[in-house]
């Protein structure tokens, strides 16, 4: 999952740096408030733990072994914001000293493994385990599900980042300049190996460690500073479930958009503006092309059959909803932590 240097185009890794800078800033702000002066030693040891967790080889029936990434476990143990910082630090050490993952790709790796993975894991874990006792099987299951789902989320984002490279960076004759495989290859291959193999290893490792901690040190699963403040915030889980169900229905209905014709009001391109107004404003002409869409028209080139188009619509909707939910979650966290201060 560590993307080396040379796989991502400057536009892509630059965007990831632009995404990570505010996240790092918010994380350090939040931790300064919750951990105060102890954050230095707390994060250093958290980061050391995130590093060494990958050293553990986990036996798999059949004689093979695999290792866990640990993002889910770290998030459950020290909270997602501390996990973001701790795993980022681990990734810097790995990139600089052990050559694992690139320097230009550092922010991309931090985004997938230090942001997407711990936050999705924490969300899944809280959603399933909330209200269960320390030693209930539901908590262990929640940990396993968090490990599996979060690793696959991170793998999906990695695959998308790699898969868009041939689209956005190629020579005039079509020679890809960076990672050469398109989305239709990168996504299924990453998804397959992570759904079937790495995800299972991650799930087993996360579940076993949480089961062990529940047995021997239940206080650790509910007494870290970030965890306790979050516990109160997720009290309203019934409303949340209803919201999630609605979102799922809406996402599945997105291919209905195919039936509509014409441009969406307010989303005209310069050609449509030209036919409506008779001219194209200078400023618009300049700005168009400044933001080439990641998924132009919500479909992926090369996937043209009606079923695939519908599928890419649904995929686009999931990515969009996840993105917006993520941003909303961050903003709400930002304001709620600001309010709590006396």
């Amino acid at each position: 999952m560590h993307i080396p240097d040379g796989y991502l185009s400057p536009a892509t890794y630059g965007s990831f740096y632009a995404l990570m800078l505010p996240l790092w800033y918010w994380a350090s702000r939040t931790l300064k408030k919750t951990l105060k002066a102890r954050q230095v030693s707390y994060l250093a040891l958290g980061a050391s733990f995130s590093f060494v967790i990958m050293m553990f080889n986990i036996p798999i029936p059949g004689g093979s072994t695999g290792h866990a990434v640990g993002g889910a476990l770290v998030a459950i143990a020290i909270g997602p914001w501390a996990a973001l910082m701790a795993i980022s630090i681990t990734l810097i050490v790995q990139a600089l000293i052990f050559g694992d993952g690139g320097i230009t790709a550092l922010a991309a790796n931090c985004f997938t493994m230090a942001f997407v993975m711990p936050f999705s894991a924490y969300f899944v874990y809280k959603l399933i385990a909330s209200g269960s006792g320390a030693s209930s099987p539901r908590r262990v299951f929640a940990a396993g599900a968090a490990g599996h789902i979060s690793l696959n989320m991170a793998a999906l984002v990695t695959a998308i980042a790699l898969g868009i490279q041939p689209l956005i960076a190629h020579k005039p004759d079509g020679t890809p300049l960076y990672a050469p495989y398109p989305l239709k290859l990168a996504v299924p291959i990453m998804a397959l190996e992570h759904l079937v193999f790495f995800g299972v290893v991650e799930a087993v490792a996360t579940a076993l460690v949480i089961a062990y901690l529940a047995r021997t040190e239940p206080s650790l699963l509910g007494l870290t500073p970030t965890l306790t403040s979050r516990d109160k915030a997720t009290g309203n889980s019934k409303g949340l479930k209803r919201l999630l169900a609605w979102l799922a229905v809406l996402v599945l209905l997105t291919p209905l958009g195919l039936l509509a014709s014409g441009a969406v009001w307010g989303e005209w391109g310069s050609a449509e503006i030209d036919s409506m107004l008779g001219y194209v404003p200078e400023g618009l002409k300049k700005l168009e092309g400044l933001w080439p869409a990641l998924l132009p028209d919500y479909t992926v080139p090369g996937l043209e059959s009606p079923f695939m188009v519908a599928l890419t619509y649904i995929l686009s909707a999931i990515i969009g909803v996840a993105g917006i939910t993520g941003i909303a979650f961050l903003v709400s966290r930002f304001f709620s932590s600001a309010e709590k201060q006396p």
């Binding site: 040379g6 230095v40 036996p59 600089l96 062990y212």
Partner: protein, 310 residues
């Protein structure tokens, strides 16, 4: 009896051990991994202590220049430019007194194992469409499975060859630059020097501490695995092994959290007040300006050529 392996320089397991355990258990794999990691960081320090021009360079200047070079490498679009800069990197390796064989093995084994294997399928028009250069097989007709197409003639393409070689050279140049930086800089200076890239002081401080405690936790894990290996004589089931690993990761987690607390107490009792004072002894010398000027010139020329080639 001759024990040649004992006289060899460097660190490693004895060869009889290697031969005896072809099918390694998860415990041995972990122990080997830890051993390799520890010896790697010791090796790197040995080269960093050598007396070479790159070792003498101010770490901040070196970090900034390597960052600049890696970004430049990521911008290049032509194989010929990589052919021009790679000998330059090799020259830097040689004048830094890093054994060339060691350096090339370290860089190219990594690239061969990961990026090389990854690049091979890209040669064929099955994965990257393009103009055929060398046809391998010809079928009666082209097939298509949903969004996937199998062309009638499977061939190595010009575009495929271009992308694979460009991809490998780009990865190789970036990895070489990072390895060069790591091998010529003490890790403590390297982490401190990140300040020059606007990394906050708090971060660089935590980084240095992390690196130190990684070693402590690695020793702990090593001891736990050795203890188990020396007490278990028969093969255990994968399930039992998994359960044991789960508890060990839990123990390491508890240990790291409690150590974090202990370290904090120790810091407070020595007068720590949330304010970091770090001893910076870096000094930029005239020769560092010379290096910077040279690097900027080289980067400008390469980027200009990159532009002219289109």
């Amino acid at each position: 009896m001759k024990l040649e392996w004992l006289q060899k320089e460097g660190i490693g397991p004895c060869p009889t051990h290697k031969a005896a355990s072809r099918n390694k258990s998860f415990i041995e794999k972990t122990l080997t991994g830890i051993g390799r990691l520890l010896s790697e960081s010791i090796f790197a320090e040995a080269f960093a202590a050598a007396d070479g021009p790159l070792q003498r360079m101010d770490p901040r200047v070196k970090v900034a220049l390597v960052a600049l070079l890696i970004i430049t490498v990521s911008l290049l679009r032509h194989l010929s430019l990589f052919a021009a800069i790679y000998p330059g990197i090799i020259l830097l390796v040689v004048i830094s007194r890093i054994p060339l064989r060691f350096f090339l093995t370290r860089v190219w084994v990594f690239i061969g194992v990961f990026s090389g294997l990854l690049a091979i399928p890209a040669l064929f028009n099955v994965f990257v469409p393009g103009d055929p250069l060398l046809t391998i097989v010809t079928f009666e007709k082209a097939h298509s499975f949903g969004p996937y197409q199998l062309p009638q003639a499977i061939a190595i393409t010009r575009q495929g060859l271009g992308t694979a070689s460009l991809f490998i050279m780009r990865v190789a140049s970036s990895v070489s630059l990072v390895v060069l930086l790591v091998l010529t800089t003490r890790w403590a200076s390297l982490l401190k020097a990140l300040r020059v890239l606007r990394v906050p002081r708090m971060f660089t401080f935590i980084l240095a501490m992390t690196f130190r405690y990684i070693h402590m936790l690695l020793r702990l894990i090593e001891e736990m695995h050795l203890a188990r290996m020396s007490r278990v004589i028969r093969k255990t089931s994968a399930g039992a092994g998994q359960k044991w690993i789960g508890s060990q990761i839990g123990v390491v987690l508890k240990k790291s959290l409690s150590t974090g607390e202990d370290v904090y107490s120790a810091m407070v009792s020595r007068g720590y007040t949330d304010e970091l004072k770090v001893l910076d002894t870096f000094r930029v010398r005239p020769v560092d300006y010379l290096w910077s000027g040279f690097a900027l010139l080289a980067v400008s020329v390469v980027l200009w050529l990159n532009r002219t080639f289109g």
